[in-house]
Point group: C2
Chain length 353, copies 2
């Protein structure tokens, strides 16, 4: 990173230089410069009456019932990638963790850790992207926090989003509800996000026109619940990919899982890139896909509901839950064999989601 441009002086009467300005330590100091940054970058991007009260906490009027509550930090590299950026990703990731409980996403907190010297223009681009993504799903960013760390003590921008959603009455979706005989569905092609990010990283010697699948999944979940209120399990296979997620479910529910490789939707570009890099698409991160487990009786109805939704057009039934005291996940391969689908041992693709 270059030496910082002089930032605008923290005087109330001047506005920030959102074209050439950079973050300095005063923007995290709790004084006037921080107040100005919050006003001109974050409040402008997230504009809503709850946030505008300017207190250190939001106050939310709610009805009795069940809330879903989830947190995620985003430390991805690069910050801008084909199909999205850390701002939209931070909204979609938290929306999806809420949606995986069947919840309607409602309120978001947004906490930024910014490295000294970070360009204000990039910060504004990220905040605006976050604000647009939140509005698109009907969420309000109601409270936030901004910290600045010295150059070399961070990596551009880290974002934490924590979300609250409302779970509709009667919905009870948990990993432990997977039962032998249940069907396993995926909402579309797998591995798109991980490969799109890799293709954009410096130093990796391949390129594709693939874009991240980063997308909010509450809509397709609502469509699935409308036809099958008794959905058993929903999970979005992000870090660790489909393999880690299915192993977590098998562990939690005390069951085995058997996949059919021929049924797995994988783009040719993703398959090719994975072969080139020695990756298994089952281990690669997704950001706009979900795995669903439901009774055999519900499976075709759920599949049809997914395929009728823009974010589920390539949905497929990819396997079944089986009895297995050892809780193994295995896959019948295209060659007629069967192999274990283990979660990754060690590191594969750091900081990809």
């Amino acid at each position: 990173m270059d030496l910082p441009e002089p930032t605008s002086r923290p005087l109330k009467s001047r506005t920030l230089d959102l074209v050439r300005g950079r973050i300095d330590m005063s923007h995290g100091g709790g004084g006037r410069a921080m107040a100005q940054l919050i006003d001109e970058v974050f409040r402008a991007a997230f504009d809503n009456p709850v946030l505008d009260r300017g207190d250190d906490q939001a106050q939310l009027d709610i009805g009795a019932g069940r809330l879903a509550f989830t947190t995620d930090s985003y430390v991805i590299s690069p910050l801008f990638f084909p199909g999205g950026d850390i701002g939209s990703l931070a909204v979609h990731g938290t929306v999806n963790d809420l949606a995986m409980a069947g919840a309607v996403p409602k309120w978001l907190s947004s906490a930024f850790i910014v490295e000294e010297g970070f360009p204000l223009a990039d910060l504004k681009r990220i905040a605006d992207s976050m604000g647009a993504a939140a509005r698109a799903v009907g969420m309000q960013v109601v409270t936030g926090d901004t910290k600045v760390v010295e150059r070399g003590k961070g990596d551009g921008v880290f974002i934490n989003t924590t979300g609250i959603g409302v779970v509709p009455a009667g919905v009870d979706i948990h990993a432990r509800r997977a039962r032998p005989g249940d069907r396993i569905l995926v909402s579309g092609t797998i591995g798109d996000h991980g490969v799109a990010i890799l293709s954009h990283r410096q130093g990796l010697a391949f390129e594709t026109d693939l874009v991240s699948d980063s997308a909010p999944l509450h809509g397709v979940v609502a469509a699935m619940l409308a036809v099958a209120p008794d959905l058993h399990v929903l999970r979005d296979p992000t870090r660790g990919g489909v393999a880690a997620t299915l192993n977590e479910i098998a562990q939690a529910a005390g069951v085995g899982i058997r996949l059919d490789e021929r049924a797995l939707p994988i783009r040719a570009q993703v398959r090719g890139a994975c072969e080139l890099l020695g990756l298994d698409p089952l281990n690669v991160a997704n950001e706009g896909k979900l795995l669903a487990i439901c009774s055999e009786a519900d499976a075709e109805r759920v599949l049809a509901a997914m395929r009728a939704h823009p974010f589920g057009r390539e949905a497929a039934i990819i396997g079944s839950v089986v009895e297995d005291a050892q809780r193994f996940v295995s896959m019948d391969t295209v060659f007629g064999g069967r192999r274990m689908v283990d979660w990754l041992v060690g590191e594969q693709l750091p900081r990809i989601c």
Copy 2:
């Protein structure tokens, strides 16, 4: 930081080496090593039935009413300091932001961004401290997230805590409720946290036996509300200190504020250290103090309630709200003059809370 010790292998049958082990990238990879870290460090520290469900979101059964919702990231240096550590601070800070709405703190999320090579023993010490602080205030850590960044892309540990509390019926505490004639109270001595952290930082040439005032304030707030349900404003003067907080209130409420320097409780050690370092105690961060604004009629009752509580023994009435279209904060000095109390322009004490 030294080169990493070999960490325990990510096999289910082995346990982590919590004495000599260090964080590696696999602990954030979404695979088995991350699951093991979460089990042995975080789940062990935060043990409760909601978290134990192991889903990507917590589900909370709630009654109708008003929730308070707040987020904060903690990027302090050093991580361990006299009177606390980043773990207890991350709980107290979020408890206090909830308490400043009069809310009863209930649920916490905890998101860690850990730098590669960080000692597992320190991580466990921090998580255990967080768990103990949460239990002490009756909060449950119900959902979490763990990310690992490469060496040199972070600074040991950053923590985000996001909290939900329940606001009792009839309580309406907001900065905009400050009215001319209201009294301003502080719950104890100011500047203790900032000076304690500074005294512990490498490279600063003074030492005191002062400890941070890091403490949860929901109890003293409950005691104040019991005698004065119509409290107007509560704020904890953290980053930016008392000066920044009072200026924020003056801005929000469209009033002026006048302090009486003789009434300000400041420890001799803090005063001395501030003189040595050229700091104004009004700009120094606090972590276990609050500012309260209430009607003149309520002031003595509120003061008595504060002084009867362990975290309010040195409480004082320090000034009044006045009419002032320019929204100035000023202070009558011990020398009989009057000076402006501005918020800090620029940086003073980075990463102190």
